[in-house]
């Protein structure tokens, strides 16, 4: 998936805004009913709508509760000290903070600190993820639990993880060939050079030949 597609999903999350306009009736959007809007009074809307209005200077976005320096610092410590992935305050924390810090930086208190802490949390989690992915591949795992990972984080290991997994599966699987073709190579598979003479040209005696009889006429050329 593309990050923009994940952003699309994240934009469905609800957020509070303070509109600078008024609409008396409820707006019946396909995604739900919102309003009525009264200038100066908080209202919950989907994130995409909040961004739309903010870009038209028609509202102020209220900082989500979890975008708070102390809370995030605590989260960061928790994440650092835990072997596993901790639950994030929002399952789209990176997407939402990225969007808000971009379009409504002025509405966010301590935006620089928040930006830094969130990036730090992201980096810690991604680094843990990398280690987990490596272990998963090395151990030939087929299953793992990864609750608390967010979609953007999961997406960061696509396509590498599925591709590597598939490549290993393919290398591991014995493809079916015709029976007569299954033993065309008749070397000994030497463990190391120490048991064999230095040349790798040695091959089995003629007596370990294929048992199937040769076809009638001997051919000395192709076709």
């Amino acid at each position: 998936m593309d990050p923009t597609e994940i952003e699309f999903i994240a934009e469905g999350e609800h957020i509070s805004i303070i509109p600078s306009f008024s609409i008396e009736s409820v707006i019946h959007l396909i995604s739900g009913d919102f309003g009525p809007f009264r200038a100066g009074f908080p209202q919950i809307v989907p994130l995409w709508l909040a961004v739309y209005l903010k870009q038209r200077r028609s509202c102020q976005i209220i900082q989500p509760d979890w975008m708070n320096v102390e809370l995030l610092e605590e989260k960061k410590e928790e994440e650092k000290n835990s072997r596993y992935f901790t639950k994030m305050p929002s399952k789209h924390y990176m997407e939402i903070s990225n969007i808000l810090l971009d379009v409504s930086c002025d509405d966010i208190q301590f935006s620089n600190e928040i930006r830094t802490i969130i990036k730090d949390i992201w980096d810690i989690r991604i680094s843990k993820l990398r280690t987990s992915v490596d272990a998963f591949i090395k151990m030939g795992g087929r299953h793992a639990q990864l609750t608390h990972l967010t979609q953007l984080e999961i997406n960061s290991i696509r396509p590498l993880l599925p591709d590597a997994f598939n490549a290993l599966q393919k290398l591991n699987k014995r493809d079916v060939v015709d029976h007569e073709d299954s033993a065309l190579i008749t070397d000994t598979f030497s463990m190391s050079a120490r048991n064999e003479p230095s040349t790798s040209q040695t091959f089995q005696q003629d007596s370990v030949d294929i048992t199937a009889s040769l076809s009638g006429s001997q051919q000395s050329g192709l076709g």
Binding site: L29, S31, S58, H143, A144, L146
Partner: protein, 211 residues
């Protein structure tokens, strides 16, 4: 009034618009992330397209300066993005293995493809065969016969997928040549990575969501 609660589409009695959005979004994610073609959500997609065109019509009634016009229009763009992306993903998958897809669709009574997609798939196969025969007719017979199906790409159903569990269940991961089977309990609200093959029956039931 911009919105008629009991408007066009039989599904409106059963499904509210926001439920429709939720279903389509989930269906879109599943389609994006699964290696094989899923059963079509044609009914819902059609319903959404109806909502979209209905809404566009209604918007004409609003004044250009009305802020609601811009809001609704923007939402329509989002819905259109969702639909387009969904349909385009499906078309790509159909092209990969049109012959098999048509067979499967037939086998399950037409649930796999929408009418438009079926028509597309048939046309596509026809054109591919035409192209192929223009080439293979020039290859001597002893080189062997070549069918269109050989050129088609079959999805690897063992590819790992990330899932979110909606309803608790247990799956069995078969022995992949390492001599061990594994039973895994999928608890509600947990997330896992597993071979697609092990969980696609849960996906079809709606017990899990691909993420």
């Amino acid at each position: 009034m911009l919105w008629e609660e009991d408007g066009a589409g039989a599904d409106d009695d059963v499904l509210s618009p926001d439920e429709l959005v939720g279903l389509l979004t989930e269906g879109w994610m599943n389609e994006r992330l699964s290696p094989e073609l899923m059963n079509h959500l044609g009914e819902y997609a059609d319903c959404m397209m109806e909502q979209v065109s209905q809404m566009e019509e209604n918007l004409q009634q609003l004044e250009k300066s009305d802020i609601r016009r811009g809001i609704h229009r923007f939402e329509l763009q989002r819905m259109q993005f969702l639909l387009n992306n969904y349909l385009r993903t499906r078309v790509d998958k159909i092209e990969m293995n049109a012959v098999k897809v048509l067979e499967e669709d037939d086998a399950i009574g037409g649930c796999l493809l929408s009418d438009g997609e079926r028509k597309f798939a048939n046309e596509y196969v026809k054109h591919c065969n035409k192209l192929l025969s223009s080439v293979t007719s020039k290859i001597p017979a002893y080189a062997g016969e070549f069918k269109l199906q050989d050129a088609m790409l079959e999805p690897d159903l063992d590819t790992p997928v990330f899932i979110k569990v909606k309803k608790e269940s247990t799956v069995l991961i078969p022995d992949y040549g390492e001599g061990r089977e594994e039973e895994v309990v999928l608890e509600e609200d947990t997330q896992h990575i597993l071979p697609y093959q092990c969980v696609f029956h849960l996906l079809k039931n709606g017990d899990i969501q691909l993420i």
